[in-house]
Subunit: 362 residues, 2 copies
Amino acid sequence: MVDDGGAAVAAIDSPIITSAHKVAIAGLGLIGGSLARRLVERGRFVVAWNHNDGPYEAARAAGMRTVDSLEALAQEKPDVLVLATPLTAIPDVLKRLRPVLLPTTTLTDVGSVKGPVRAQVKDAGLIRQYVGAHPMTGNEFSGFEASSSTLFGDALWALCVEDSTEMSRFLTVADMITQGLRNRFICIDDSTHDRSAALISHMPHVVATALAALLSVAPDRDIAAALSAGSWRDMTRVALTDPARTEAMVVEDAKYVADLLQVLSTKLSGVATSLSSVAQDKREIPADFPEIRSFFESAQPYRNYKKNQARSAASAEESPLTTITLTDQQWQKELLQSARQGQQIVRLISTHEFQVTSAPSW
Amino acid sequence: MVDDGGAAVAAIDSPIITSAHKVAIAGLGLIGGSLARRLVERGRFVVAWNHNDGPYEAARAAGMRTVDSLEALAQEKPDVLVLATPLTAIPDVLKRLRPVLLPTTTLTDVGSVKGPVRAQVKDAGLIRQYVGAHPMTGNEFSGFEASSSTLFGDALWALCVEDSTEMSRFLTVADMITQGLRNRFICIDDSTHDRSAALISHMPHVVATALAALLSVAPDRDIAAALSAGSWRDMTRVALTDPARTEAMVVEDAKYVADLLQVLSTKLSGVATSLSSVAQDKREIPADFPEIRSFFESAQPYRNYKKNQARSAASAEESPLTTITLTDQQWQKELLQSARQGQQIVRLISTHEFQVTSAPSW
């Protein structure tokens, strides 16, 4: 242990817990339910609470213990308590947990934005126990009835820490992910997470919704819908998600999503302008349109990356594992650096040594 | 037969061929190859030409006859000749076919835009024999080695006719689709096709490419790519298509794609503006944002449509079939009307009576 504030305090008044044997889940929706099922299947003890007892019978049949209040959930003395409620419910849930959550319980969440949740946890005075998390899985369905342990079959998680995060808290959640779920994770800071999530998920959800809205008002929408095939189906699938859930996700990550939408809007408008001038001299086709050519070429790094990814997936079951070693002083930055290099953590060897996979190159 | 120009001429100098026993395919790429495989499997005679003989050995092993020139292909006296080359090659192929195509052969194509191809066929003087077609199938791969008869397993085709199209030509291609492939079709005009295809395919291809390009230049692209899950994978899948093929498709349908991109760009920029003002007063979350709420609600008709579609797919193997009857005078308009009602033609009962499915409602 070094002498920075957080770690020193941790050494004094909270035991070093690095295994998550007993996991409490607040919220048995698609994600909370699937997470709970997977943990039970992998032999962990799961106790769950939901805002109504609709899923309780099925949850008990699946091997979970259910309790009737958030207070009772905290009093179960879980190693980890996972907030899996809708984002909009988190402030209220935190208010109720504050007086009852034991200091030995590590608090985490599965919300799709991390900066705002951390701010709410800070407001609730629970930041010392907190490590933010975001499993990169889901689908367009909702509710415990849609939950399945296979949703977490090969999920990658983002764990979000800041400089004051206690390493023992981080290790507890990391244990839940790697041993409890046999999932992988990367460890980054909130803003890197929220900016990246805006790019690869939140902003695309808005785009999918905008496409579905365009079809909804098209004069020949029956014909267009009939003609739609795989490309349309795939590009609008997430527009079928419960719009309230998507709205909450996008609103919580508003700044990054807004920035990206503006960039995308400008890019699409530029292509529209180039295409309009092509349409003017239609008789010239086939011909060369350098602006349009360079637009299509601008996605080439991604095509190469996917090709390399497919190649490495085909060449071996598992990519070769390497080991990273962390220091007590800089472990957060070392983990961020590891993530930037495309590494993913698959196993904890010890508290300071992790096995990581490496990413395909771009 | 009525006394309009086209039909009268048809009655005089071209026999009424309504079955496509022998099908010639020009171009053994993903689409041409898959089409050929499916026709062979369903017992039709297929003769194929490709701009190089790379796929010939595999094509012959799959039961096709191969010929070494377009001239030889035409001289095989096929009932239908399908242009399945890249769009950019069509003008040249037509020039070579013009002097050799027999009047008894119906000419069709599988290009993803129909107005420009019709113009090229007119320029080549082959319009009397022509019915445009577009099978709504494909994937991000290319070439005969990627072809499979399952690509045409349950495909819907758009057949494109205009007022002067000869009914016998239309029936020949319709036979290839319904009996030769066990596929379905709708019959519309070129501009309805090209506008609809821009909406549900060509414009989304541009959007997918723009998304992939954004990730390609993101500072934390390794982290963002690692965090990407189903929504990103699905929304960028078609960006992996051969960009030259996508570019040709988009350029040929430039006007409609440009219009839609401009509408989408404005819509996304509007959402960006709303989200920026949300980001300003972040402390108000959770709160109500009417503009953002109404944006997400604007896709509700599409969500309802998909729900109805899934419900009718779950309730029965096949939706109940009804029969439509065509007149000699107005058959093109009657078929367009049928398509506008969401009907799809699955079987020809006779030359003027078709079995149709009905669409789920919005």
